[in-house]
Symmetry: C2
Subunit: 431 residues, 2 copies
């Protein structure tokens, strides 16, 4: 009989309780996949008395003692940076593999954790940290390891996608829709992490690090949330055959001098209704990956929720356990390139600008002159679009974001411009 692989679980909320259920439900099935029994050795929770549903002999409030006991793998589902960071570093340094879904921790301290894992030969897996049940990190890290990923773009935050989908279909404003999302449980009581883009930025940092074999932290990611999106923005998007999504965009870019850098950003984007990401509704996630040889790939599925996220945790747990049984470890991360991060101002983007302008001749000439003065080339102009309140709608070609930003600032000051109704970046061709 092979020795069991012993697992410590830290945290037992929505995802943790699903993981517990899956570990206890069908141990024979898991053992067959791993090649040895998988034993849940203990569950550390802050308030043991709050968990009457769990097997009481497994519960402890002493996470440190549980980690230091003879467990082989630590599964962390508490979240946040402290005290989790110290616990996981300690586990990794002792050669215990770690499976975690902690995006905040990974987007800030991945280097330190990866180094600790490398030194002791332990595994560090975190598929659950990005896009819930969707197998994304493993394909990026392993399946595409021989290819060259150039771009990753996706919807990785379900809360904001739910809100934007609802605004698009009901025409309601942001505040009202957020209230509804909170009532339905799609948004947390304090929605800041989601609606201000912190969650999506953490995920972008994790994706960019793996995709480009470099180290990108959350602080490197340009971040704009959805709190500024108005129903005018949604209407403007609709009048162009587009919809608004909060996208995480990670790109590998070649600078003029031939050197490489990384761009990572999170902001609302108008995309054509015909774009595959436009059809991703509600709390679903979808991620496009572009690689030189593979071309365009898409991954789609549930980005959150207890059972879907637990599926990702269990996949990692099986891998870590198999490696323990085989006496090896999985592929380490390959963050060998220290690529600089291109600032948002230098990142080429395209803008959509809807303006309410004075009804007299020469207005377009004045507005166009401002674009030209900033070196921004205009793609399309529509005047007096009956489907919106705007009297002038401009979509640009690509230009550095800073140039676009200052163009809009200057246009806003023109006497002939009554109001800047909507400004938003656009992706994708069709209109």
């Amino acid at each position: 009989m092979t020795e069991p692989v012993k697992v410590a679980l830290l945290g037992c909320g929505t995802v943790g309780s699903e993981v517990t259920r899956m570990l206890l439900d069908d141990p024979g099935e898991l053992a067959a996949r791993v090649g040895a029994p998988v034993e849940l050795a203990g569950i550390a929770v802050r308030r043991p008395d709050k968990h009457p549903e769990l097997p009481q002999h497994l519960i402890t409030s002493d996470a440190t003692a549980l980690i230091d006991s003879d467990v082989d793998i630590v599964v962390e589902l508490i979240g946040g940076i402290d005290p989790v960071r110290g616990w996981l570093l300690s586990a990794l340094r002792k050669g215990k593999s770690v499976v975690t879904g902690n995006k905040a921790l990974l987007s800030e301290h991945a280097s330190e954790l990866a180094e600790a894992a490398d030194e002791s030969g332990a595994d560090l897996y975190y598929e659950a940290a990005v896009a819930g049940a969707i197998p994304l990190l493993r394909p990026v890290r392993e399946s595409l390891a021989g290819d060259r990923i150039t771009r990753v773009m996706g919807i990785v935050n379900g809360t904001t996608n739910f809100i934007l989908s609802a605004m698009d279909s009901t025409g309601a404003g942001y505040a009202e829709t957020l209230d509804e999302a909170t009532r339905l449980g799609y948004a947390e009581a304090d929605p800041t992490a989601d609606v201000d883009g912190y969650d999506a930025a953490s995920k972008a940092a994790i994706i960019a690090s793996l995709a480009f074999h470099s180290r990108v932290t959350a602080a490197d990611v340009h971040r704009e949330g959805i709190a500024g999106i108005s129903s005018s923005d949604i209407t403007a998007a609709k009048s162009l055959g587009r919809t608004v999504k909060l996208l995480s965009i990670c790109e590998r870019v070649t600078e003029e001098d031939g050197s490489e850098s990384v761009s990572a950003r999170v902001h609302p984007v108008m995309i054509p209704k015909s774009h595959q990401l436009a059809g991703v509704g509600g709390a679903f996630n979808a991620v496009y990956v572009e690689a030189e040889a593979a071309g365009q790939l898409m991954f789609y599925g549930q980005g959150a929720g207890g059972a879907p996220t637990a599926s990702a945790v269990l996949g990692d747990l099986v891998s870590a356990a198999r490696n323990k049984v085989a006496g090896g470890r999985g592929p380490r991360e390959s963050a060998h390139a220290a690529l600089p991060v291109r600032p948002m101002g230098q990142t080429p983007t395209r803008y959509h600008v809807s303006l309410d302008v004075a009804d007299k001749p020469g207005v377009l000439a004045q507005v166009a002159q401002v674009f030209a003065a900033h070196g921004v080339s205009i793609s399309t102009v529509r005047q007096r679009d009956r489907r919106s309140t705007a009297s002038l709608v401009v979509v640009t070609h690509q230009a550095p974001d800073a140039a676009l930003r200052s163009t809009v600032d200057e246009i806003d000051k023109l006497d002939v411009v009554r109001e800047v109704i909507s400004v938003m970046r656009v992706e994708g061709e069709a209109e």
Copy 2:
């Protein structure tokens, strides 16, 4: 300096030449991912004089000698069963890892190859065998290893998808569209393997084996191709808001006695235009995976072509090379369940039947009586649909395929039925 990992390449056609290019182009990048240099030690081709573009010192016509030299990994891109089967078994038995895209071989001899790999501790990877560049097998095998996959359904043959997409958009017949596909290079001179569903059936066998941890061979897969699809079928589908796709469908089914079995089949299916698979056009592939905890996932990308397929080969090669460097091996297959294969006749499906019937009272009653006599429940009936030539269109609820088949046979014999215009299985709800 770490010892290089030596690679033998067998075959150098469309995919092999891309693999060669990627191996030779940026050795530093690959070495960084693997942790050691990756050295292309030799390329075995049948006719060395036909490859002036390759580095001549690498070329050999003696595959056996190349495999027997001091190479660590054998990449096989020749295809077919013999002599490849013997070569790969010999390599695996000597502890050399194998990376292959050979679906015909794997769908018939996977057990034997996996056993040889297990015995010597070598890796056997074959991501390129199914759905080209799309990372599908690794997610199924590893990311979902702790979950329970219940169903995999997808478009895994680009040639038939191109033909069906073209028939749908042009209204042209099958023979004419096949000619066009051949002219454009989307179909081979002998299109049998694609249009008769052999290729899709091999892939279904590989998918089902990995997804259900059982052993399913190509012979276990019920197979119907697209050669029988007429423009009447396409028209009938359109009149129901549907389109026709050749799908590979693998299911884990629970029998009435509680035992489990596997169903694997390839056949044309009418799916709603709103279904995500309906939008997959041209030579693209897309695969849905349903798992108990993860829910519904979708993977989308290029299913064939030199560079995309080479991307999948390189990903496997990097994994195998990393394992060599680390002294371990990747997760073995877990074909521990020997689930029986449910025959097609017992598999529940839904049928669409378009009939040209006599224009007199009581016809529907007669037809409905035949369905009832076979225990088949009708979902919808439409009479005298102006959008098609049919005068009676029936869509059933689920029933065993054999019952549906014999219902159609009996209906065809009814005096009041002038012609059975179209019979096809349907998937998905909306109409």
